[in-house]
Amino acid sequence: MTKTIVLSDVTKTYGDQTALAGINLTVEEGAFCVLLGPSGCGKSTLLRLISGLEPPGHGDIQLNGETVADPANGVWVQPGKRHLGMVFQSYALWPHKTARENIDWPLRIAGLRFDDRAKRVTEVADILNLGPYLDRYPSALSGGQQQRVAIARAIAPRPRLLLFDEPLSNLDAQLRVEMRAELLNLHQKTGATIVYVTHDQMEAMTMATQIVVLNDGRIEQDDDAQTVISRPQTAFVAKFVGNPPGNLITLGQTADRWAMADLSGLAGKLSADDHAFQAMVRPEKVRLHADAGPRRRAFRVIEQLPFGAEHLVRLDGDTGRMTALGPVLPCVRNGATVYAELPELPDAIFDDQGERIA
């Protein structure tokens, strides 16, 4: 498979603030790559570097095998020459142009003949069901329609790479679900490689073939969706990803922490000195009981939420907060005391740097 995007050791700083630190990333052709992370983690900056709206401070960027930015060797390709389309969070529709003119203008810039342009506008308008709205100004379109125009404008010149910067965050929940399906559909129809920035992990999980979790300007993990959930590489990923996210348990010997003995299977893996480490236990592996027992700790029930056929229970205790997911139990009532039992082995163990060690 060919590689659409290759970033090597890319760094970006603003003044003395580091936005991105040593990013290495490869995106295969045809991938749906989601950059996932909390706000301020650098995901939008990464997208702007790929698009060419900003130059990297350091490192090089290749698109479709061609180096487009390499400050050390004086290589720089303008965004307009990178053959990509971009959809902005704010849609960035030109307010003084109708939907049709918005879609048409980039084709004009690209130098297409009038007939070809008209044909292409009709084509993409069909794909995105924009027919009836083509002659309206953006201000006369609903949020969802504006979104479609922005996407149509981006795909009209048939770019091989499409960049999306939190495109759905301004839509209501219902529309978001619809647009997700449409974007997947679009991905199949066009075969373009997509890089998609979001902080919404539902979006990431449902669409991505590749998830890149970013935090604080660094890549925490780069895997497919299932792996990111089942085998988080860092404590941050464990805490940030998954619905519900995993429980992080600080291990220790003292009474206010979970003794390592409670997770009895750990004994051979850690030494007594490793008490700053954290173990991840997925909520569905936490079992709740009405009575005390070995490897059980007392918690107070803060709240319980229906979660599919099961219940999500939030707990508070001496060792911190915890979430459990399981069948509805009579002993679980708000304010009641229950006893949580952990599995013998946690799902992951992270060292004091947050790196996975087991």
Binding site: T13, S51, D70, N73, V75, M86, P95, H96, S139, R153
Partner: protein, 584 residues
Amino acid sequence: MISPSGAGGAFLRRQQMSSQGLTAGAQVLLGHLVLVPLAGIAAALASPAGMDAISDVFTGRIARNMLWVPLTNTFLIGFVVALACLLLGGFLAWLVTMTDMPLRGPIGVLAALPFMIPTFAVALSWTVLFGDDRLGQSSMGFFAQLGFDVPSWLAWGGVPVTIVLIAHLYSIAYLMIVAALVLVGRDLTAAAEIAGAPRSQILRNIVFPVVTPTLIAAGALCFAEAVSSFSAPAILGLPVRFHTLATRAYGAIETGSPERGFVLIAVMILVAGAFLALSALAQRRGQAFTTVTGKAGHRGRTSLGVWGWPLALTATTVVVLTTIVPALALVFSSLSAQTGALFADPTLHFWIGQSDPGIAQGQAGILRNPQLVLAFWTTLAIGLMTGIAAMLCGLIVGTAISKERYPLRRSLLEQVSFLPLLIPGLAIGAAFISFYGAPIGPLPSLYGTPTILVIAGVAATLPFAVQAVATAREQVARELEESARIAGASQVRILGAITIPLTASKLIAGFVLVFVKMVRDLDLVILLYTPQLPLLTVLAFRYASDGFAQFAHAIAAVILVISVAAHLLASGLGRNAQPWLKDQ
């Protein structure tokens, strides 16, 4: 870090360099337009003659008449005007935005107009109505002509000056308070209503705190405008030797003791500037509130019940008295053989009449008078040039501000460009005389040239130009240009197809605003004009003080029409010149 040999680096460096160039350009402009002239006043004061003037003005024999009495008058006028404007403007704003008063639509529109009518026109219209025979038979006003005995304190001096300033400035307070009340989202008051608060308490505990910063700002602005006004006290005060700081300063500079004038100007700047600076502080602290803007959806209006029509009549009276009546007074006076005898003996002489030795010492009607025709074209030309120059400077300074990345330098540029707002027009005129009035090195003196008028006009209107550029730039979100870049458009093409179409109407609106400020201005140009360079406002002022009232009134009527029309054009351009916003 950026590698110096990299093209990405080169790209970034180019941007940095152009932003540095812009900043440097903006600094040069601001320096020459704002700081240097002020420094000129300071230098004049620091000279031996200046030091003498300071001690004369503050402690000398003339101190009482020169400084203390005018200062007291100025303060009194300022406070009364500010208070009355807040009450009147606030009352109207409340009626229009928060109640179900009948006719609130048209009343709301009319209440915004006085702001567009030049003060000197209102002052002249006052003399049309209330003038007595102090300046001779020809200055008798409408009521005196009818046989009423108009008391002297109502015809001239502090009382009419105060009333005229209120009639002009209350609409500024009104506009500001309306804007603030609209921000008091329906949700805010609804939440209080649901909590069971009675209306009086909602007003006291919710509405007032939210609009308080605006009230302070509006009060300070009215105060500063009142204390710096020259035309109202000059027209209504000078005939009875009623002085404010502005008229005293003008008198001193005109009669050959400029240093004394500069001392008074400095006091004026301090008084007006201090209040505006205070209000800026108050507003900054109040800023936290303005983020709490509910969407102004369906507004629940207080029902006025049986009071609706009486209040509507009162409000109508106020707005009609401050808009239509002064305009009509000026027009009718210019059409009457005798000022004040408004409907007695209609004549078009003062507009189109041939020179007639029997009337007004042989002066021809204003449309035939070569001096006036020259003044008309000069005024328009100066206004146009100032508008263009101010917008160019505004573009440079405004763009420099938005591109400057160092917060300290950016805020310095911002502060200095808004400084002229704190300086009375008369003071800016004085500053330009003191600095550009004398030859500078090889450059000749600019005094008496159109250049000095244009430069001074640019300095005085720079805050508006910079503001217009800033609003225009806000119109274009960064992404709009970026998406064009990604489509492969060149910088020139982006400018032509995206940036200019989106900003043009705001920039033109800014230009019109500067133009009209210049056309109707008297305070700024009164010290700078020369007979070779006649301006409409100055001529109107001269005619009025020389007793050719109807000519003055005819000119004032012309300026009034230009001013209101241009203002309406500017606000229309600002709001409606974007068809893509209309077809919702």
